[in-house]
């Protein structure tokens, strides 16, 4: 009798389950950035992040991204205290997410990663495991953890939309992901289309990465943050001589290339290091002052763009951020002010904050040095 009852209950439960959540039986199949096909039985409940900062990508499509995190490295906490604190305020549970590394590949602990029993590991290169980390991937997979690769850094402009789509499928938020991808593509397309029709002359751009840190002149070529220069209709002078993704240009080369535009990149990681300070929680005046200091350095102050007063600062962390369309918009406006007179990156940021981000981006993400500031003897008001 008891056995019959159990069977009957089981039948009802199965029927009820299939009625109330029909998606359960349908496995989710995603093709990740590395071209691997990954199948999961149901939307991920316990995600292991390879980089803590991808919390921002999750938050674009999930109203409570912290609730689905099982483990992550401490990079967001260590390198972007401001953002971490804001998320922590909104999602106090963030403190309980297990730490599996300090935010570098060497400190990523496979043992801790396995101990948090994730169902899916989402890796994104950068500070964490990448496609090359075959040891980590194979160990996770043999423990039954699915591994999915996304990318916002190595080919930011090509992979951002697809990465969001993948994340949307993984966490069962396809509609939200679709909305963001549409928003993202619309903004990208606006710049691309207009450049394609107008075909303006590309100005020579010198992008000074981590401006003010160490000796001059670290510069990206066509990948990572340098990818945005081409997309915004500029010509990157580093791409003419650099074969590696990143390298140190000879200051003499920069001087003799007579760049039309100087773009320094900076972030909170340059605080106290004499560099350009920008990003979350940084006010505009501080960014302007540090940018003015950077371009006042001997040699750099004589670069054509600096002498002609076309000096700009960009948040470096756009190099690994799904909101990278903002960087393209800002650069395009700097490169071709007339062509993009109606484009307002501040408005785009506002729209991003209002429509998608549960914790808004607030701070200085781009800055223009007004000519009065860069004169070395001008007293700042």
């Amino acid at each position: 009798m008891a056995r019959w009852l159990v069977c009957w209950l089981a039948l009802v439960a199965a029927a009820g389950g299939s009625v109330f959540s029909p998606a359960v039986a349908e496995p989710i199949v995603v093709t990740d950035i590395a071209g691997r096909t990954v199948t999961i039985e149901r939307p991920a409940q316990r995600i292991l992040l390879g980089e803590g900062r991808q919390l921002l990508a999750l938050s674009l499509i999930h109203s409570d991204p912290v609730s689905i995190l099982a483990g992550w490295p401490a990079d967001l906490k260590r390198q972007d205290e401001e953002t971490y604190a804001r998320y922590s305020k909104k999602y106090p549970g963030i403190e309980d997410i297990a730490i599996v590394g300090q935010g570098s590949l060497d400190t990523f602990s496979i043992e801790r990663a396995l101990a948090v029993a994730p169902d899916v590991a989402v890796f994104s290169g950068g500070y964490g495991p990448s496609v090359k980390s075959t040891d980590i991937v194979s160990r996770l997979e043999s423990a039954g953890v699915k591994v999915v690769f996304i990318d916002f850094i190595s080919k930011p402009l090509e992979n951002t939309a697809q990465s969001l789509t993948i994340l949307g499928k993984l966490v069962g938020r396809e509609a939200e992901a679709k909305a963001y991808v549409e928003f993202y593509n619309r903004h990208r397309q606006r710049i691309a289309d207009r450049l394609a029709t107008a075909k303006p002359k590309a100005p020579n751009v010198f992008m000074h990465a981590h401006a003010g840190l160490g000796a001059c002149c670290n510069s990206p070529s066509r990948t990572t943050i340098g990818a945005f220069i081409d997309a915004a209709g500029g010509h990157n002078i580093a791409a003419d001589v650099l074969s590696a993704p990143f390298g140190q240009l000879n200051l003499e080369y920069v001087l003799s290339a007579h760049p039309d535009i100087y773009v320094g990149t900076g972030g909170v990681h340059l605080i106290g290091k004499g560099g350009l300070v920008m990003g979350p929680g940084i006010d505009l005046t501080r960014s302007e002052e540090t940018l003015a200091d950077v371009v006042a350095a001997p040699g750099l102050s004589d670069v054509a763009a600096v002498r002609n007063g076309r000096v700009f600062g960009l948040w470096h962390i756009f190099n690994n951020n799904p909101a990278n369309f903002l960087a393209v918009e800002v650069l395009a406006k700097w490169f071709h002010p007339e062509l993009f007179a109606d484009v307002d990156p501040d408005e785009s940021l506002r729209e991003l904050n209002d429509r998608f981000l549960p914790v808004p981006m607030q701070g200085t993400y781009w800055v223009t040095l007004t000519p009065s500031r860069e004169a070395p003897d001008a007293a700042s008001p």
Partner: protein, 353 residues
């Protein structure tokens, strides 16, 4: 044969005078080569400024075009000068250390000074630890200098605990080398990805951090140290005959060692502080000089300094030529060129150094 057995005392004196003349000519010849290398270095760069443009820009900066003047005075001249000065400083430090410790492997790098400097730099870069009140751009060089200097004080303190034998100093130095390397690895382990990159670049050495005031500072240290080195030259020569013999003719070996190590640490500290770690100059410079000049330290010390200056100057040219427009870290270039060169020297060595 330099000494003809059939000639008497006068003949010996005469051939000694000839030997001294020959050594002076050698030192003079290296000095000329250094000047030539310096001018080539000044004339090398990604923009089309030749020797004549550079010399004119140096001679009459007011008449030169502004961009040209900036390239010459802000970029090429500081780097070329610091290449000469740092090369000379590291090589002189290596020469004194090799003699003082009676060990051909002794150099600022094998005895832990540069590892200590790297650790100092790592503390500043990774953990932001430095002397309070120092401007941001000086924290790293000041830390590097203090640690290089401190490591030698530690070395001499340790060696005084257990006599002053050259071998025990070498062993202590190697222990320091491994200790500081481990500490550097520890900071690397804790570093964020960006700080790690910066540290790696720092350790590869670069002349692009040069400025005229930094070059002046290295020149000042050299100007202070070189007279003391030259005053110790005959004692160092005597030490080459062996520690006991040197003692028997009245050389206070432990004082000589302490003074020499302090000089070496000053030279290394100031050099490493401004350009990062540049390997092999301190090792190869002295060996090259010794092969040409021999052991008489009145000539060997200046020749070592000049050889170091020559090598680093040429390496600076190479670092600009190999990939135009891009700066190759100078430490890479000296190591890549230095290693085969060093091996060739060792393989061709006819007698025990």
């Amino acid at each position: 044969m330099l000494l003809r057995p059939e000639s008497g005392a006068a003949g010996a004196l005469e051939s000694y005078a000839a030997l001294v003349r020959r050594r002076i000519v050698f030192v003079g010849a290296i000095a000329v080569l250094v000047i030539v290398a310096f001018i080539i270095d000044l004339a090398t760069g990604p923009s089309a400024l030749g020797v004549s443009d550079v010399l004119r820009g140096l001679y009459a900066p007011a008449e030169a075009e502004r961009a040209t003047a900036v390239i010459i005075w802000e970029v090429r001249l500081p780097q070329a000068l610091i290449a000469l000065l740092v090369g000379a400083a590291l090589s002189l430090a290596g020469a004194e250390m090799q003699t003082l410790l009676n060990n051909p492997m002794a150099s600022p790098f094998t005895l832990g000074m540069s590892s200590a400097a790297t650790f100092g730099a790592a503390l500043a870069i990774v953990l932001g630890i430095g002397i309070p009140g120092i401007p941001a751009s000086w924290i790293v060089p000041v830390n590097a200098f203090l640690f290089a200097f401190g490591s030698v004080l530690l070395l001499s303190a340790l060696s005084r605990l257990r006599g002053t034998g050259g071998d025990s100093i070498v062993l202590f130095g190697i222990a320091l080398f491994f200790t500081f390397n481990a500490l550097v690895a520890l900071t690397q382990f804790m570093a964020s990805e960006q700080a790690l990159q910066q540290l790696v670049f720092w350790t590869m050495g670069s002349l692009t951090r040069a400025s005229l005031d930094k070059a002046a500072l290295v020149a000042l240290v050299l100007a202070v140290v070189v007279p003391f080195s030259m005053m110790s030259a005959w004692k160092l020569t005597a030490l080459r005959l062996g520690e006991d013999r040197a003692r028997s003719i009245g050389v206070n070996v432990s004082r000589l060692r302490l003074g020499g190590l302090l000089r070496a640490s000053l030279l290394t500290g100031v050099a490493v502080a401004f350009v990062g770690t540049i390997a092999f100059i301190g090792l190869v410079g002295p060996h090259l000089a010794r092969l040409m000049i021999g052991e008489d330290h009145r000539f060997f010390l200046p020749a070592s300094a000049l050889c170091g200056a020559l090598i680093l100057s040429l390496a600076s040219c190479a670092s600009k030529i190999i990939m135009p427009g891009v700066v190759l870290p100078i430490g890479l270039v000296t190591s890549l060129i230095g290693v085969p060169f060093f091996l060739a020297l060792v393989l061709n060595r006819r007698e025990q150094i």
